[in-house]
């Protein structure tokens, strides 16, 4: 057996072996691609504060290009209720015009499939909600998806 001193000396000279991190970028790239696939880019900035209700019968919404987003929530720094369509704030009576503007940009098949993704705050009054719904009805945007989080029954 070698004397103790010589053993330590030996180890110090070798130093800490460097860790091989060559595969690390590959790992992170895998995670990156995973995220790129499962998420989608935020199309418009939501200018209202809202919290969607929860339900048991919710389904996933598909058909991305033919979706119009409507948000109902508190406007940025007041307690007032505000309606946002895609990226802009609107009032319920402007909605039919906006919908037809959106529809004119879509292909005929997509215009037929047009779905409104309706994201309203839990505490939004039904008065405002039904005004918006009536406006949508006027614009023949009849497919509505009430956004909600899923809860188990």
């Amino acid at each position: 057996m070698r004397p103790m001193r010589s053993m330590f000396h030996d180890r110090r000279r070798h130093g800490v072996p460097s860790l091989n991190v060559a595969s690390m970028p590959d790992l992170i790239f895998t995670v990156l691609f995973f995220f790129m696939i499962v998420t989608h880019m935020r199309s418009d900035e939501v200018k209202v504060r809202l919290e969607v209700p929860a339900g048991t019968e919710v389904k996933k919404l598909t058909g991305h290009p033919a979706i119009v987003n409507i948000y109902i929530g508190h406007s940025a720094n007041s307690a007032e209720w505000a309606v946002q369509l895609n990226g802009e704030m609107v009032s319920p009576k402007d909605i039919p015009a906006r919908i037809s503007a959106v529809r004119s940009k879509l292909s005929p098949e997509n215009a037929e499939r047009l779905t409104v993704s309706f994201r309203a705050d839990r505490h939004a009054p039904m008065g405002l909600v039904s005004d918006v719904k009536q406006a949508l009805q006027q614009a023949y945007a009849l497919k509505i998806n009430y956004s909600a989080t899923e809860i188990s029954p």
Partner: protein, 181 residues
């Protein structure tokens, strides 16, 4: 000697920072994308009412009136009800009169959206239960395992007959809400 030199000719590329770069990309995507997939309750509205149209007469016995008042209290044919009771009422109503019953929904302007949504959810859950039963009985499979054709047959067998009236500021306007495809 030769061997040693050969080894030194291929210097290793330092790839330590690649991880950092890809981490930055990852974080960028995490920030700019939204994880929340659009989930929700898909409903089909009726087309806008035609001007000067005569309201249709419907048998009162076939209509179930579901109302929400300003304090989010649910009433079912005039009696206060819970969501569970509403679901059960819709199930029994639709079982008795499959294709002719009507669930008439009305919400006060002061009702919160959540109460309204929970009510819609409960009604849809009732229909879902019926369709599930039917599909188990006739196809021996749960509803979500059926083919598209079979599913539309089941949907036709148990149509969702929900009528919704809006309480407008100006005049009460009624509109019929069709069944889900």
């Amino acid at each position: 000697m030769f061997r040693k030199r050969f080894r030194q000719q291929i210097p290793e590329l330092n790839t330590t920072s690649t991880a950092d770069i890809s981490f930055m990309l990852l974080i960028f995507f995490l920030v700019t994308s939204s994880m929340d997939t659009d989930k929700g309750l898909l409903r089909q509205m009726a087309p806008p009412p035609v001007e000067n149209s005569q309201p249709q007469d419907v048998n009162k016995d076939l209509v179930m009136r579901v109302e929400l008042d300003a304090h989010d209290q649910l009433t079912c044919d005039g009696k206060p009800a819970t969501l569970q009771e509403l679901s059960e009422a819709v199930v029994s109503m639709a079982t008795v009169n499959r294709t002719e019953h009507i669930v008439a929904v009305q919400a006060d302007r002061e009702t919160t959206y959540e109460a309204y949504f929970r009510m819609q959810d409960a009604i849809v859950a009732a229909y879902h239960q019926l369709r599930e039963q039917y599909s188990q009985k006739h196809y021996g499979r749960p509803y979500h395992r059926l083919t598209t054709d079979e599913r539309s047959l089941v949907n036709e067998y148990y149509p969702q007959r929900i009528s919704e009236s809006f309480t407008s500021d100006l005049s009460p306007q009624t509109s019929q809400k069709g069944g889900e495809r």
